[in-house]
């Protein structure tokens, strides 16, 4: 068994350089790598390209890295909850590439799985299709989309073991499994780190082969964007 444990987020992200392309797991603020984001903030790495479904809120998630102008470009499907984001976008400080959510998920999945390109119906006839090859299969038009990879993927899981195996909880899973596979270096933070052998091999969501570094995170805030309750 290959041991991948590092002490903490600082050690895990030590070699992320200015200008790196990152993938960050999470949907809204659910399942985001809180500790790794905090460590990036501390390290002050600049010029980052962040591939993440959303861009956090003003004072949490990727929003923190926007406040400090560490992000050069966001690649996301939806970025709407963030005033600082809007300001930087309008002033031209920040680049944004919007990708349909399913296409984003599949491009990341393809990147990790060695598929250089695939066809999807999403975005045909829209501005997303501009400059892209279209093609008909069985009378329906599809766009060709390319696989996506990253220099580093920062993912968050519920439980992990020393071999890098991960289990997610609830909808905190979202983009994390595909990103784990698509990172050249994948850094996983987990709420609970256990010795290899404690997790049931049948119930692993992310096999350890995709994870290069793993650590037990701390002080998870797990902020809720829309706390909605019934009467």
């Amino acid at each position: 068994m290959i041991n991948k444990v590092v002490q903490n987020a600082d050690e895990a992200i030590r070699d992320i350089q200015d200008g790196a392309v990152l993938m960050l797991g999470g949907f809204g603020l659910c399942g985001i790598p809180e500790n790794s984001i905090a460590a990036l903030l501390k390290k002050g790495t600049k010029g980052l390209t962040c591939i993440s479904n959303n861009a956090g809120v003003d004072d949490f998630g990727i929003g923190l890295l926007l406040q400090t102008r560490q992000v050069k470009k966001m690649i996301s499907s939806y970025v709407g909850e963030n005033a600082e984001f809007e300001r930087q976008l309008l002033s031209g400080e920040l680049e944004v590439e919007l990708i349909p959510q399913g296409t984003l998920a599949e491009r990341i999945r393809a990147g990790g799985a060695g598929i250089p390109a695939f066809f999807t119906p999403a975005g045909v006839g829209t501005e997303v299709a501009e400059g892209k090859e279209t093609r008909e299969f069985n009378g329906k038009v599809y766009l060709m989309e390319l696989g996506l990879r990253a220099d580093f993927s920062l993912v968050k899981a519920w439980k992990g073991d020393t071999a890098g195996n991960l289990i997610y909880k609830g909808t905190a899973r979202n983009f994390n499994p595909m990103m784990a596979a698509a990172g050249k270096i994948t850094i996983a933070e987990v709420e609970e780190l256990v010795p290899a052998g404690e997790l049931d091999p049948n119930m692993i969501h992310t096999p350890g082969i995709y994870v290069q570094r793993i650590f037990q995170g701390s002080n998870y805030e797990k902020r809720i964007e829309q706390r909605t309750v019934r009467g």
Binding site: C30, Y78, L98, Q101, A122, T171, A172, I224, T228
Partner: protein, 219 residues
């Protein structure tokens, strides 16, 4: 009298059939879940990776790790399953979800939909909307028939940036229930209580097809 949001949701709930898997967009579509009759068994899919979505949680049940695509806290029902975003959109793209209900800013008479971007306003992104409209077998749109300044939102051609082409099958507005004909045109199926065919015609810029008597919506 024009339908309110709840009226639109109630009317759309009548389109739901036993055994369906359904994706509900944000806004009026979310309300539809409240009006599905008890004897109709369906499962709700949330594109962030949840099938078998339940009602909002009680205070005690709130779990930051369990949200819907609108980022609201939710619960799950017996028989639920959780999966990745890639699996979720595989489900959508592969036409396993039977019905998609979503809002729109504009629909054209050939079924094009615009619901993600207004030029000159901050662009928030399409989220999963382009995947949903490009893939779904059956799309019902919940929308207001006219904009606040009275302009029709059921058009010959969309003026806003398109989300998807030729995909909308049915529209339920505050004024009417309409079907998009394969050859183009909005076929009027039902009118809101007390709303005349003429009023609907006046509110519809695209081609309106009226065949015979048009019954009132029953909710």
């Amino acid at each position: 009298m024009a339908l309110d949001k709840i009226g639109i949701a109630k009317r759309i709930a009548q389109e739901v059939k036993d055994g369906m898997y359904i994706n509900l967009g944000i806004g009026i579509p979310t309300l539809v879940a409240n009006y599905i009759p008890e004897h109709i068994n369906v499962e709700l899919q949330s594109e962030n990776g949840l099938l078998g979505m339940g009602p909002f949680p009680t205070e005690e049940e709130v779990d930051a790790d369990l949200i819907n695509a609108g980022k609201q806290t939710v619960t799950y029902l017996p028989g639920a399953s959780i999966f990745s975003s890639a699996e979720s959109f595989g489900m959508i793209r592969g036409k396993h979800v039977n019905l998609t209900i979503l809002g729109a800013m504009e629909v054209s008479e050939n079924g094009d939909i615009a619901n993600w971007k207004i030029p000159g306003k901050m662009v928030k992104g399409m989220g999963g909307a382009m995947d949903l409209v490009a893939s779904a077998e059956n799309i019902i749109v919940a929308m207001q028939h006219r904009s606040r300044d009275g302009a029709s939102k059921l058009l010959k051609e969309c003026t806003l940036p398109i989300t998807g082409l030729r995909c909308v099958k049915k529209i339920v507005t505050d004024l009417a229930v309409l079907e998009v004909l394969p050859e183009g045109g909005f076929r009027l199926l039902e009118r809101a209580p007390g709303i005349s065919v003429e009023e609907i015609k006046a509110a519809t810029e695209g081609k309106l097809v009226v065949d015979g008597d048009i019954p009132e919506i029953q909710i």
